[in-house]
């Protein structure tokens, strides 16, 4: 059962709440305020659902901050379909942005698509981070090897094996060891 934090302009509105309950969501309902990020940190929901006439800039900025630190699926129902708002919603990495489409028959499928999209986005993000780290490590390893080749007259093969042995002795990755070799060489620069 997913815990959802529901943020609505109209606290008395029941359409979303009823539909979510019907699909077995736990709901915590609140208004948006300046303490929103703190509230999310404290309540730790599994997803955020908004039903707002127009999301404020402050809210979109908060969602962006949240997604940079600890990403969550965010579903937004709104009446505001302006290009500018859509752009900011994209930047904030909102998983589903639905303009004037609050229909009790479609709510569950929209949320499920939003959740699936969020999951897919996270997989892609993770893969990108890993690829960037590997690329950075590769650069550092090449630099460290070049240092060992230059200062120790090693062949490329010996430099690589030396680096690997140093890393194994310390039980750290090759990339981390390469950074240490570069730092050590920097001292003598």
């Amino acid at each position: 059962m997913l815990n959802s934090l529901l943020v609505e302009d109209d606290i008395k509105a029941t359409l979303l709440e009823t539909a979510l309950k019907a699909h077995q969501f736990n709901i915590l309902k609140t208004h948006y305020s300046a303490a929103f990020l703190k509230f999310v940190q404290e309540t730790r929901p599994d997803l955020l659902i908004f039903n707002l006439r127009s999301p404020s800039e402050a809210l979109l900025a908060d969602i962006q901050t949240l997604n940079q630190k600890s990403p969550l699926p965010v579903i937004m129902f709104t009446l505001d379909g302006r290009h500018e708002t859509l752009q900011k919603a994209m930047q904030a990495e909102i998983s589903a942005f639905v303009v004037d489409g609050l229909d009790s028959q479609r709510i569950n499928s929209i949320i499920q698509i939003g959740l699936a999209r969020f999951k897919q986005q996270q997989i892609l993000k993770h893969a990108l981070d890993e690829a960037l780290t590997q690329l950075e490590d590769r650069k550092q390893i090449d630099r460290a090897k070049a240092i060992l080749i230059k200062t120790q007259n090693y062949t490329e093969d010996v430099a690589y094996h030396t680096l690997r042995k140093l890393a194994m002795d310390r039980n750290i990755t090759l990339g981390e060891m390469a950074k240490n070799v570069i730092a050590m060489a920097d001292l003598l620069k």
Partner: protein
Amino acid sequence: MKTFIKVIEIWIPDQERTQLEFGSGLYGAFTEFKAASTQQTFAYDEGLPGKAWAQGHPIVLTRFEHSYFKRIDEAQKAGLTCGIAIPIFAGEFLLAVVVFLCGDDEENVCAIEVWCNDTLKGDALSVMDGYYGALEPFEQISRKMSLAKGDGIPGMVWKTGMPMLVEDISKISGSTRSIDAQAAGITTGLGIPIINHHGKVYIMTFLSAKAAPIAKRIQIWIPDPLGKQLICQQGYSKNSNNLAEIFETTTVRKGEGALGRVWLTGLPVISGSQVREYNPELSDLSSMLAIPVIEQASLKAIVTFLF
């Protein structure tokens, strides 16, 4: 691993060579103290660096309160309690002053001493100045002692005119002070000849326990017999560091890199990252102080303190 030295500064004569200005420094997390220091200048005989310049020998200042130290409030705020100033001279002309600032007295088994000879008293070495932290009995013994040329670390440094790093002081034979030092918990000793001018000799010793070494690694580099390149004579740290050992097999030509610059200019150098956090798991070394040992305007050795 904690080291006893918290802050290192290099003060150099300004363009007119009438006062000392900030050269470089290692301040670690002491950013406020750094901010209070980098704009500072010291006239001849002013503050700790200026005094070392005027007196012409190393100084150990064990208390900042009511002293000539100029940054007392900032030092107290940073928990710095003791200062050591080492002037680097070429003959009678000052090249730079290296200042060490230390803290955490009660926790450290550590002593820093300045030994000098007194030609009127049979030319033996005695303690002129020293910081001993909590090692009071060892201080009393050391201050009463006089050492002949060749005796103990100070005497051996005097005899050879070279820096000396003793990894295990229990292995110094025939030295009664080494037994007293061991009893005080001291395991490692470093001696550096600072000045040898017109028969007056000043030698510094850094004595420390394994738990709180003077630096994470200490090296002694010397010019090879042909005077063409520097070779590492000795390197020591509490834990073995095979990365540092690899770099200690390299040779350094005059003017090449940080050590080569020390040889070329006769000036101490601080190099490396000022901000990188030390990771004790990796035994990594991210900054270095290199001090030249100069005799008769020639480089005899370079002592490096790696952090």
